[in-house]
């Protein structure tokens, strides 16, 4: 999509702002709940992501980072696309867990439409940054690392 392509040109201060206060919206698309819990776990005292300004928000309109978990179920697909369209740009997507990265153990399921990155690239045809965090479930440290890497990519992408 041409408009999406032009929108992804992020100015330095936009990328800087997002890297300083990434607000996370969490989206489960056919999960076993575990990545979701580990994500919440990141906010609790042991890991405390608020140190880096990361906050969980309830409305996609407030989000900068979409945390997508699960193997992208057929019923969730249109909802996922709708949510992506509601997020103000620029934003990044983090696909959590083995399911989000490559469908994981549900690879052969009849109800999956593929990993998150494939959906974003081939079905939505957008070049939003997608970071895959493998693991079943990924440890909170890995989740933090995934977000950090995504934000770095966003800063590098500025032109």
């Amino acid at each position: 999509m041409a408009s999406a392509g032009s929108k992804t040109r992020t100015s330095p201060w936009q990328a800087w702002g997002i890297s300083r206060s990434p607000w996370v919206y969490h989206l489960a698309t056919g999960t076993c709940n575990n990545c979701d819990i580990e994500l919440l776990d990141c906010l609790t005292p042991r890991y405390d992501l608020e140190r880096f300004g990361i906050k969980l928000v309830g409305s996609p309109r407030h989000a900068d980072v979409l945390m997508v978990t699960g193997m992208m179920n057929r019923k969730c697909l249109p909802r996922f696309i709708a949510v992506c369209r509601q997020v103000p740009k620029p934003y990044i997507i983090v696909a959590l867990g083995a399911c989000g990265a490559n469908k994981g153990i549900f690879h052969d399921s009849y109800n999956t439409v593929g990993p998150v990155e494939r959906v974003v690239r081939e079905i939505m045809k957008e070049d939003t940054i997608v970071v895959n965090v493998p693991g079943c479930p990924p440890k909170p440290e890995a989740i933090i690392l995934g977000v950090v890497k995504g934000l770095k990519l966003l800063q590098e992408r500025r032109r």
Partner: protein, 307 residues
């Protein structure tokens, strides 16, 4: 020119924003400490604002876009003028009836939230706006009664004179302060009265459709309210901030103490139901405020300062 400078830099927009953002950080830090966490860095509220300013503004198809986009600025304007009046009063510059004007100005942010929520055309936002409206109806009367107690004690409508009277030194003053503190808690949208935003029920309530700069304005207004409302309590009930000598240090301590009380109430209470909140204010809030008023009048007539 002086007025413009006053409005924009000190003690208007920039000053109030800076103090408000610092207070906002203080609030988040204390919350984090209560919850065994480390908490965000000092400039975190500012980062949030910069980030939001750089995001896209989305307006939903069902929204009334003019109302939707103008509403944040209504509350913002109210907050700026309120901070101006309040700070000037503490500096000794006051005009007749400014306490009444202040009360009106402090309703504007709530009105802005209601307008914005209703204009956004989202059923959840509308529900949040109606809840906010109910809350305004619930807490305004007790708050005004509590302010009247302070006015009776100071025997003046001037905020400056109010600021020089330590209302809390009397029994009625303590009761009125307590009622006003709870009303401030609602105005700030903190637990147990965060019913309008109610993250786990209404997602973000009236703010649900806002994104980017308009949301930043709402956040900014909230940060400024976090500066204005505790200062309002300090001025009305705790004797204000005295700028002679080391008085300002004592004033800051009073201010931080009030903020701390607000944050601790926020972090040790679950959210009330809307009917419980209204019942609470109309029964206990109004009762306490009326009692304080009666005590204050009696004390005034009989001449007992401690009543």
């Amino acid at each position: 020119m002086r007025y413009v400078l006053e409005l924009v830099i000190y003690p208007g927009f920039i000053f109030a924003t800076a103090v408000g953002l610092l207070t906002s950080w203080f609030e988040r830090k204390v919350s984090a400490l209560v919850q065994w966490r480390k908490g965000p860095p000092v400039l975190q509220p500012l980062y949030d604002l910069v980030k939001l300013a750089g995001k896209e503004t989305l307006v939903s198809e069902r929204a009334n876009s003019a109302g939707f986009l103008l509403a944040p600025f209504l509350g913002f304007a109210g907050a700026i003028v309120a901070s101006l009046i309040l700070w000037n009063a503490n500096l000794g510059r006051s005009f007749l009836g400014d306490s009444i004007v202040l009360l009106y100005l402090l309703v504007l942010p709530a009105l802005a939230v209601i307008l914005g929520g209703l204009a956004s055309g989202n059923p959840i936002a509308i529900l949040g706006a109606t809840r906010e409206l109910k809350l305004v109806l619930a807490y305004e009367v007790p708050l005004v009664l509590a302010v009247i107690v302070a006015i009776l004690k100071a025997d003046s409508l001037l905020l400056h004179r109010l600021g020089n009277t330590i209302t809390i030194g009397s029994l009625s003053g303590v009761l009125a302060f307590f009622v006003a503190l709870l009303a401030v808690q609602v105005k700030l949208g903190f637990a147990p009265f965060d019913i309008a935003e109610a993250e786990t029920e209404l997602i973000a309530g009236p703010y649900i459709e806002y994104s980017g700069p308009p949301l930043a304005v709402f956040k900014l207004t909230h940060a400024m309210l976090l500066f204005i409302l505790p200062l309002f309590l300090v001025t009305l009930f705790l004797g204000g901030i005295d700028f002679r000598g080391l008085g300002w240090l004592w004033g800051i301590l009073k201010y931080l103490g009030v903020v701390l009380a607000i944050v601790l109430i926020k972090n040790t209470n679950p959210r009330l139901r809307i009917d419980q909140a209204i019942r609470f204010f109309w029964r206990y809030g109004l009762g306490l405020a009326l009692l304080a008023l009666v005590l204050a009048i009696i004390g005034d007539q009989v001449g007992l300062r401690w009543l």
